[in-house]
Symmetry: C2
Subunit: 336 residues, 2 copies
């Protein structure tokens, strides 16, 4: 599709310089609890601790930073169920430029509240009855601002790739080599950025996507070798992972470098959300917990391996977290 070139590891290094002052360098966090549970050496990359509560701030801020100031001053437009929305809104606030976000009307309340708190204007649409692309096209036409694509953009992918660069650097600093990396995947931008960065430093690392049941376009695409589409466009608790198919730019990177795709049920995801709260003291949203869920559900043999699990976001509503806590506490593993 795109005539714009996919990013390289050098673009990720450049992104890191651009975002360094504003983004949080999240830790690579060793988990004794999960290491014992999974008989492996488990590290977490908790992007729920990132500014705005998800990795999305990295890519959004990198995109805005790279814009010509006069162009940037016209403002930015994005479409998102909430994490990219908050990332773009916060980046726009920092640069003092207007932001308009097209957001599904069923987006989690805290995501909308925080997007508006950053000063963005939210334009809601109905996922079931309205065509998102038509709504976005109308807003772009009206506002004349810069559209920041959530994943099919080299600056966004490079920004998300800083997660992978930090993983690689922190592994090196600890003297460990990651053998498995698991990444929650929607359009594939985070996955592409991380995969590019970690395979650049550790060519033999096996990187897997994690997705919810019925939104497993990446898992099926990787298996078949060509991009596959989901039949559904909504209906999973992982509201951050409902993109219909792999973005072309991410696919170009991921199709050559990924080891495979893992798929989890919503109930497995809820258990992971509850475990993260009860045992790790981290607030993780469903879409951010699918990688952890996949390992807890035994989707991959990681025994004795050095594993990095990306927890990509933490913007969850109260009821959903309560559901997760209940699910975990009533599961067999909660007192083991």
């Amino acid at each position: 599709m795109s005539s714009v070139a996919a990013p390289t590891p050098a673009d990720i290094a450049a992104a890191r310089e651009r975002i360094a002052k504003e983004a949080v360098r999240t830790p690579l966090l060793y988990s004794p609890f999960l290491s014992e549970r999974l008989s492996a050496q488990i590290f977490l990359k908790p992007e729920c601790l990132q500014r705005t509560g998800s990795f999305k701030f990295r890519g959004a801020f990198n995109n805005l930073s790279a814009l010509d100031p006069a162009k940037r001053a016209k403002g930015v437009i994005a479409v998102s169920s909430g994490n990219h929305a908050q990332g773009v809104a916060e980046a726009a606030r920092i640069y003092g430029v207007p932001a308009t976000i097209v957001m599904p009307s069923d987006a989690p309340a805290p995501k909308r509240m925080r997007t508006e708190r950053s000063g963005a204007k939210v334009v809601p649409y109905d996922r079931a009855t309205e065509n998102r692309d038509v709504v976005v096209a109308r807003v772009v036409e009206e506002m004349k601002g810069n559209f920041v694509h959530p994943f099919n953009d080299p600056f966004v992918i490079a920004g998300q790739g800083t997660v992978g660069l930090e993983i690689a650097e922190d592994c090196a600093a600890r003297g460990i080599a990651p053998e498995v990396v698991v990444i929650p995947c929607s359009g594939g931008g985070l996955t592409a950025g991380i995969t590019l960065a970690v395979t650049d430093k550790y060519p033999s690392v096996k990187v897997y996507t994690a997705e919810p049941d019925e939104f497993d376009d990446y898992a099926r695409s990787l298996k078949s070798g060509t991009p596959q589409r989901n039949a559904k466009t909504y209906g999973s608790i992982s509201d951050a992972l409902l993109v219909p198919d792999p973005g072309p730019m991410g696919w170009e990177i991921n199709s050559k470098r990924l080891a495979g795709g893992l798929v989890v049920s919503d109930s497995e995801t809820l258990v992971a959300v509850g475990l993260a709260y009860d045992e790790l003291r981290l607030v993780v949203e469903p879409g951010g917990a699918v990688g952890l869920a996949a390992l807890l559900a035994g989707r991959l043999d990681v025994v004795e391996k050095t594993v990095v699990i990306v927890l990509s976001g933490g913007n969850i509503g109260d009821e959903m977290l309560a559901d997760g806590i209940r699910a975990y506490r009533s599961s067999a593993g909660s007192r083991a």
Copy 2:
């Protein structure tokens, strides 16, 4: 009191070697949200992400590691409302030795559950009607095991001091010098360990304790120059911070090196607990949040300063967290 010498920075370095394999090296986490809110450069040291959910594992494991193996095999005994309990129980589990924990019957349910999950035997006592020291003496007499004091012990203080060593190292790695460090304080062991480590590397840093109203023995002791005692022994939501007076060994260190003591109300603490959940995606217990509460309440002028706030633990019951979230969301600051 003690003929045993207080620890030195070298003891903290030795502790770090002993605990390295089992404890989590928690991050020094930059907070854009708090930095903007407080017009300062705010870093968090989230010990809620430590093994067992609080810093206490560090001191407990260091104490057990330093014991003669034959002596250690006799098992360990501790008294604690829950965080030291979990730390000792988990250290004992790792060494495969029995643990008995004397715990107030009103300790938060998750603290007791997790202590028992580590395999420890819990002996409850009633804070209002029973003398804790008598109960402990009886258990020590019966069990003949090693009593692990929660704070008046050089190995425990040195273990907690690894928190400060990590803060100092991470500041150096970032090229920043901490100007203010705020530490939740009970018996003073964590405070002593951190203070020893950070003032060793940064002699001009100002270190403050934070305590709940009516349990402000450290603040009053620092002001008067001699150890003061609290009138109450229970009755704050900060269940981890109810020790009646400064432990002598910690006092020896702290009285010479601290800049002062900050005091917060329980309602200020609740707001901090809720903010940590809503804005930082961290689960922090009341006793772990008093330092954050003190800064949010404006107890100290930190404008333009580089500040480290220690979040010492995250073992909180569901109702207490819900109270905190409500308190924060109804506060003026939640949408600012």
